[in-house]
Amino acid sequence: MNSSVIVFPGSNCDRDVAVALGKLKFKNTMVWHKETILPKSDLIVIPGGFSYGDYLRSGAIAAKSNILNEVINAANNGCLVLGICNGFQILTEAGLLKGVLLRNKNLKFIGKDIYVKTLNTDNKFCNKYKQDQVLKFNIAHNEGNYFTSLDHLKKLEDQNLIPFKYCDSKGTINEESNPNGSLNNIAGIFNERKNILGLMPHPERMVDQIISNNNGINLFASLLN
């Protein structure tokens, strides 16, 4: 499977994603933001970091970069797109996913391990997980507080477009287990076609038992299915 990781000035999880993809034997290419042609890809990953310093608004400038036009075209043609953290913010700024990521409710950067519950496994990204499986992931962001219109929220819930919600270690989804104030504890969402996934937690940080755990492996493994 061919993957491309887009590198913006200020991306800082590009290497980590490439390492995770490498573990699963993806044929990966790093693609610099000034490029105007995207290599043939089955998966495009927009990694975390602070693209363009997060100046103006996180993800806003990256969403206007050369390469994003190519990403948008590929996504519209059904290519799988995964946006992690800043990547999720870029996808919303580019209009590939609806909604916005606001400042965290406590107005501070949050960097810690949290739990998410897997709520949809019938898709390309999560088919290796079990329904309702609780995963320990790591979050590291200033703006992860997902917000959207009531109509869109209803659609997300009704069409099962929310694969991950923040929960506690036992899987309880409530206000206490919501780290950043996200609507309905949303940690990640799909577009309608479910070929685009944006999520705030970093699955690429959870692919090695010595470092953390293996909870992120199956997200990348699912894509190979």
């Binding site: 999880c13 980590d16 810690k112 470092i211 953390s212």
Partner: protein
């Protein structure tokens, strides 16, 4: 313009220093030259009061590739791998403008590390604030923590360990020390020494602005009530540009274009060019019209003294300009040849086709003043108080009070603001005795820690100096690392005060003795004097940053309890030393008496055996016993796990408080599975290491026999409430 005495003093120079400048130049300097002298001769850049003492530190060892004197120290960790690290203070700017002060402290120390060819892999910090009740503390704490977080998170280097402390001694002068650790191949290390005549001197990075002018001179003066007016001398950081600069420099370093490279830190363009020329025994000529400026109409004086961030000076090999420029253009950074190396041994500054300044390099560097300031010896304080004469208090109450005190509280409020996991090699995050960072794509890892004990150093600097080195050593041992080398950040008051100079000299003797004994050399460091306001000096606060090697990261260990029924063994003897303890301070407000004694040979034996037990997989958790004594160390083990402990009092006990709160040195707690217990005690006894069984792991309750039984959830809440309610 004639230089008046007032102008000289405004530049932080003494009149006798000005006379020396005239002597060296054989004429009067102009204002630009005076500014350059003031930048190079201030305490921060010249180490004029400290050099005489620093030269006694042990700086060599079989792992040392580069000791002090370069941008950072370099150690060999085998397989042609090198670790490059340094700690630096940014105290004064952080007090004036906490966010930018702390942020640029992180930026500066990162540049010191990647200048040498290393990719930074970890950040640490030691931050000291005034009393929580002081009106400024909350704002400063918030600002500093978000400044560190803002810079480190954005550039994408994990902030993995640190210490946050409060004491009224820092009310008017906080400490912000940042440490960076990087990785490089041993044969790809870059130094600041210039070589070769007529080589291009290249300016890369951000443009020069008017920020930070005279920053280094500010950091070499005491504060007074007008310090707030110094805000314009604090630099503004841009971690995004630094990320680009770092990537561009590391990309350029892949081939052999660079002869010498130096970051523009304190005293910016002045110190970087002088340093390179001085080390290479060359001159340097700069065309200031070519310096990329952020603002119009900047004068040579402003350009030479600006401390704008995210800039570097590079001396390039011939014919390499085109290729190098391409790299910097890719990263959208300025790249301008602004000068050449010369044989004149002068710093020559040209502006609008005129020589606007010309100073012999050695006058700025090797001939800078050096002082042997007078210092007074500090006697070991007497022991005047006995616990038996003090008002009786319940052990449980004291314990819970200490556990919820600002200095002993859980610090996740701070550490949760840091990205500890970016780069995906953090094998141990903060919260343990030391953090562990795996070397990318390898089995091995390094362990890192920062430590300080200002109250011990104040009570008796010699013992305090020894103690912090030992504490650093113990913290590395406790995660399964072999301690290799340290960097130090020496935060002291006014060196013109013989008592402060005495604290400095004796702390250094203590550091020297411990480093020599433990074969734990000093490879880099920084001195920060003039910490104080209106003649009130801070307590002496040397901070030690330690680096150790973990051969196989899968063998890492920490203080988290593993299994019900496991045995907790203490090694090292408890004498019950309460002077200078957290207990005396928090419970009785007693601040007098000597710090605990340090026995270097016990430290060495105990540490080496613990490491052996870890490597032989005979123990399942380790924790060093430090501030707060035995009971705090036990509680910390319990708090980090899901388990409680059943603690048994020793049969013979002269005093309960002394035993559980005493801060005797050289002690560790080990968790052992029952099946290994006999083997472990046998090894300890054979090596004459004092050990005693003090607790067993149990579910749910933290319990001291005959004293208290506390649910671990309650313990956790007690330990976690302070920051969240502050």
């Amino acid at each position: 313009m004639k230089i008046s005495n007032a102008v000289v003093e405004k530049h932080g120079l003494k009149l006798e220093e000005y006379s020396k400048i005239k002597e060296l130049l054989k004429r009067e300097p102009n204002l630009l030259e005076l500014g350059i002298f003031s930048a190079m001769w201030n305490e921060h850049c010249s180490y004029k009061s400290s050099r005489i003492h620093l030269k006694n530190l042990p700086v060599k060892g079989k792992h040392v590739i580069q000791g002090p004197g370069e941008n950072a120290g370099v150690i060999d960790i085998g397989d042609d791998d090198a670790i490059i690290f340094k700690i630096e203070s940014h105290n004064h700017p952080s007090y004036i403008e906490p966010y930018q002060g702390a942020a640029t402290g992180v930026g500066g120390i990162l540049r010191d590390v990647f200048t040498m060819g290393a990719r930074p892999i970890a950040l640490l910090n030691s931050i000291h604030f005034g009393s929580p009740n002081h009106p400024k503390t909350k704002t400063l704490l918030n600002g500093v923590v978000s400044g560190i977080s803002g810079y480190g998170n954005c550039i994408g280097i994990p902030t993995v360990a640190g210490e946050t402390k409060f004491d009224s001694t820092y009310n008017e002068n906080i400490l912000v020390n940042a440490m960076a650790v990087g990785y490089a191949k041993k044969d790809k290390i870059f130094y600041s020494k210039a070589k070769g005549l007529n080589k291009s001197v290249v300016y890369v990075g951000s443009k020069t602005g008017r920020d930070g002018i005279h920053g280094a001179s500010m950091a070499s003066a005491e504060f007074d009530e007008n310090s707030e007016d110094k805000k314009p001398t604090v630099q503004v950081g841009d971690p995004f540009t630094e990320k680009l600069l770092m990537e561009a420099c590391l990309e350029l370093m892949k081939d052999n274009s660079i002869i010498s490279i130096q970051d523009m830190g304190a005293a910016g363009l002045t110190s970087s060019s002088v340093e390179m020329a001085s080390k290479g025994g060359l001159g340097i000529k700069l065309h200031l019209d070519k310096v990329p400026c952020r603002e119009e109409g900047m004068t040579p004086y402003e350009m030479m003294l600006s401390e704008s961030q995210e800039r570097m000076l590079i001396i390039l090999e011939d014919e390499k300009e085109k290729e190098a420029k391409k790299i910097f253009e890719k990263w959208d950074l300025d790249f301008v040849v602004i000068g050449k190396t010369t044989e004149t041994n002068n710093l020559t500054l040209i502006f609008k086709n005129e020589i606007v300044g010309e100073i012999p390099i050695d006058a700025l560097a090797s001939k800078a003043p050096m002082y042997d300031r007078s210092w007074t010896k500090i006697k070991l304080p007497e022991k005047k108080i006995s616990i038996k004469d003090l008002k009786k208090i319940k052990l449980e109450d004291s314990f819970l009070k200490i556990l919820s005190s600002p200095n002993q509280s859980n610090k996740s409020w701070v550490t949760d603001q840091f990205d500890q996991m970016v780069m995906a090699d953090t094998a141990q995050k903060s919260g343990a005795d030391a953090a562990i960072i795996r070397i990318h794509n390898k089995e091995k890892a390094i362990a890192v820690t920062v430590d300080s004990s200002a109250n011990y150093c104040k009570a008796h600097p010699l013992t305090g100096g020894k103690q912090i080195v030992c504490e650093s050593w113990r913290n590395l041992i406790s995660v399964g690392a072999k301690p290799i080398a340290i960097t130090n950040c020496l935060n002291f008051g006014n060196p013109e005060d013989p008592n402060v100079m005495g604290q400095f000299a004796e702390c250094l003797i203590g550091i020297k003795e411990a480093c020599e004994f433990l074969d734990y050399p000093v490879v880099s460091g920084n001195v920060s004097f003039y910490n104080g306001t209106n003649k009130k000096n801070i307590d002496p606060t040397p901070v030690i940053g330690g680096v150790g090697l973990v051969l196989e990261s899968k063998n890492k260990i920490n203080h988290i309890l593993n299994k019900e029924g496991n045995i907790i063994l203490q090694i090292g003897k408890t004498f019950g030393h309460l002077y200078q303890s957290v207990f005396f301070k928090e419970i009785y407000s007693i601040y007098e008496g000597p710090p605990p004694d340090v026995n270097l040979s016990n430290e060495k034996n105990n540490g080496e055996i613990v490491l052996k037990l870890i490597n032989n997989k005979l123990i399942t958790a380790v924790h060093d016993v430090s501030a707060g004594g035995l009971i705090l160390a036990l509680a910390e083990m319990s708090l980090s796990s899901e388990y409680g402990l059943k603690i048994k009092k020793p049969e013979k006990l002269s005093n309960l408080m002394e035993y559980y709160f005493g801060e005797d040195q050289g002690r560790y707690l080990l968790e052992i599975e029952p099946k290994n217990f006999e083997n472990v005690t046998k090894i300890l006894n054979e090596n004459n290491i004092f050990n005693e069984t003090i607790a067993t792991v149990q579910k749910d309750f933290f319990e001291l026999q005959g004293e208290f039984k506390i649910n671990i959830n309650y313990l956790y809440k007690t330990n976690n409430k302070w920051y969240n309610s502050y």
